[in-house]
């Protein structure tokens, strides 16, 4: 299949496992365990029970009438913002914590940028009674203090990372170093469809429930499971892969991924990896990344802390190369405008990340009969300060 991973962990030319030998056994064992659980009935049963009763799935598919009227089309919102902990991130952490338990790991580590994945990891560790250590850049700890406190309340130890640029990429490096140092008892829960094989595929698998539900719910509402288009924001790209995955073989469904444009893609302050990046290796995966001419990784910028990752999942790189997904970008200003519009028309405060997906509605022409699904990947509670400050300006 054109968009599926091959036996070596590649999507086309992207992916693989570019890791020091010290992690070889860990990834080998993880891949074996992951392959087992995909078809293991008891595991699937446990996972579904937690997704329903603990996370609150299925998340609703909501026909946003006033927004539809404004854009003169039919817009449906996939309400991942209504999940426990407020974003899609928990779909993945629930799956990985069950896998970690099955592998008899007793210590869980994670990286986090804005803190959403950290909170989702701390939550499932509390649920299972497992030790949890979250690496977070020192700069992000300052910027996202409420989430630091949430993680601590849930029993996690948050470790400040002072190396490099002190943000998400450095937190990821530090988590990798921790895993290298504790290969036996520790499982590393990566938060997006990034990292070495099997992570991109595994995280995509756990997130693909989003697209499956969209198909079922749309069929129920309209009689046809296929929308005209799906729009999702892309940092590492897990919510987008989750929403797209089921529909990849159906070329008639248009897919749009929206990157963080920051101050504009040519401003030097952007997170639009597919525009400004080049193929290379980051965190064990061959993909597009923001880097200088010498191959040193550069720090991206976006108003949204969840989109400013210098890489992008290898499947996205492949879908970009194959032209299956159309990638675009929204600037900080466009995302803010879209967020305020959603608040006013639908009474929903989206996460800043998700606001980028809504900003794409201005940029794409839809007809009165089209059905457009926007993946509302998270809620905006964590972004209130930003929204309030910019409203005043």
């Amino acid at each position: 299949m054109k968009y599926e991973i091959d036996e070596f962990g590649y999507y086309g030319e992207f992916g693989g496992a570019y890791i020091p030998e010290l992690l070889y056994n860990n990834l080998y064992q993880l891949k074996a365990a992951y392959k087992e659980i995909i078809t293991d009935e008891p595991f699937i049963g446990m996972l579904n029970e937690l997704l329903n009763d603990y996370v609150g799935r299925p998340s609703p598919l909501y026909h946003a009438k006033r927004l539809s009227e404004y854009y003169r089309t039919n817009i449906y919102l996939k309400r991942e913002d209504l999940n426990h902990t407020g974003a899609h991130k928990i779909n993945n952490t629930i799956g990985q914590i069950l896998l970690a338990q099955r592998m008899q790991k007793t210590r869980i580590i994670a990286e986090t940028g804005a803190g959403q994945h950290g909170v989702a990891t701390a939550t499932v560790c509390a649920l299972m009674g497992l030790e949890c250590i979250v690496y977070m850049g020192a700069k992000d700890i300052e910027r996202q203090h409420p989430n630091v406190e949430r993680m601590q309340l849930l029993g996690a130890r948050v470790v400040a990372v002072h190396s490099g640029s002190q943000t998400l990429k450095d937190a990821t490096n530090e988590a990798i170093r921790d895993w290298i140092s504790h290969p036996d008892d520790t499982h590393y829960i990566i938060g997006s469809v990034v990292g070495p094989d099997p992570y991109p595929e595994m995280v995509a698998h756990f997130q693909s429930i989003i697209g499956k539900e969209i198909a079922e719910q749309l069929k129920e509402k309209t009689g046809n499971e296929k929308p005209t288009a799906i729009i999702a924001c892309v940092g590492g790209g897990s919510n987008a892969i989750g929403a797209f995955h089921h529909f990849l073989p159906y070329e008639e469904v248009a897919l749009y991924g929206v990157e963080g444009g920051g101050d504009g893609i040519y401003s030097g302050r952007t997170a639009a990896t597919l525009v400004q990046g080049k193929p290379g290796i980051i965190h064990g995966s061959k993909t597009y990344l923001m880097q200088d001419a010498d191959g040193q990784i550069e720090e991206p910028y976006s108003i949204s802390a969840g989109l400013d990752y210098p890489g992008i999942g290898p499947l996205h790189a492949h879908l970009f190369k194959e032209n299956r997904v159309q990638y675009m970008h929204a600037t900080d200003t466009e995302a803010l405008r879209a967020a305020y519009q959603l608040m006013k028309l639908e009474g929903i405060i989206p996460a800043l990340e998700s606001a980028h997906a809504f900003a794409a509605l201005e940029k794409i022409k839809f007809t009165l009969t089209d059905k457009v699904v926007v993946n509302l990947s998270g809620r905006g509670d964590k972004d209130l300060t930003t929204y309030i400050n910019h409203k005043q300006q």
């Binding site: 020091p20 030998e21 070889y24 056994n25 190396s163 490099g164 490096n173 965190h283 064990g284 990784i297």
Partner: protein, 258 residues
Amino acid sequence: MNRIKGLFRNKQTDILTIYFTAGYPAVDSTRHIIQELDKAGVDIIEIGMPFSDPMADGVTIQESNQTALQNGISIARLFEQLKDIRDVTDKPLVLMGYFNPVFQYGVKEFCSKARECGIDGVIIPDLPMREYKTIYQPFFEANDLGICFLITPETTEKRVREIDEINTGFIYLVTSPGVTGRQVQFKNNQVEALTRIEHLHLKNPVLAGFGISNNESYKTVCKYVNGGIIGSSFINALNNNTQNISDNIHQFVQSMIL
């Protein structure tokens, strides 16, 4: 002949390999450090190519990488510095660095440039064996560069044998789980691992690294494998007395050879 092969033909024990970061402490320290390491009597000199995100390295090498990059080092500039390096040393020279900067430079171009400078071996810890075999091997072979893969005490015998088959420089044995720059106490389980590797009787010479920080740990690994690789504690020693780097280098190497 490749100088790594030449070295091991004449000497199989107590091979002292020192790692330093190119461009550190100053951007043009490279040539001077190589010269002094040569004079001080080390066997192999490992030149680190700095990277913004060195994921297997501890704080010391992370910081030396960052400083070196701020100083303006790059692979292109390093090759400039190494242009006439064979005028001052005949020791085997090995380049060590993460894959992305090499990939951006162009692997083919990198290999031919390395040969022009008289480089003998390359260590790229995050270049997988399979990608090396299926894509890059011809470039290394065409330029007589010894590729040096890592193994750990946990690497299965089957995989060690596979690596031994394809490896052409020395095998880099990581002594115990963890990043570079830790102080490893060579207790029973580390010694067990060293013994296990010793008993495999590999075709390639084996040098142990990660956590070799002083004379005691260096001499311990030398009992089981062909020698040891020292990085972080050498970087720290460079700073002992910044007024005179040469003295620091000689004192450090002496303390190991003792």
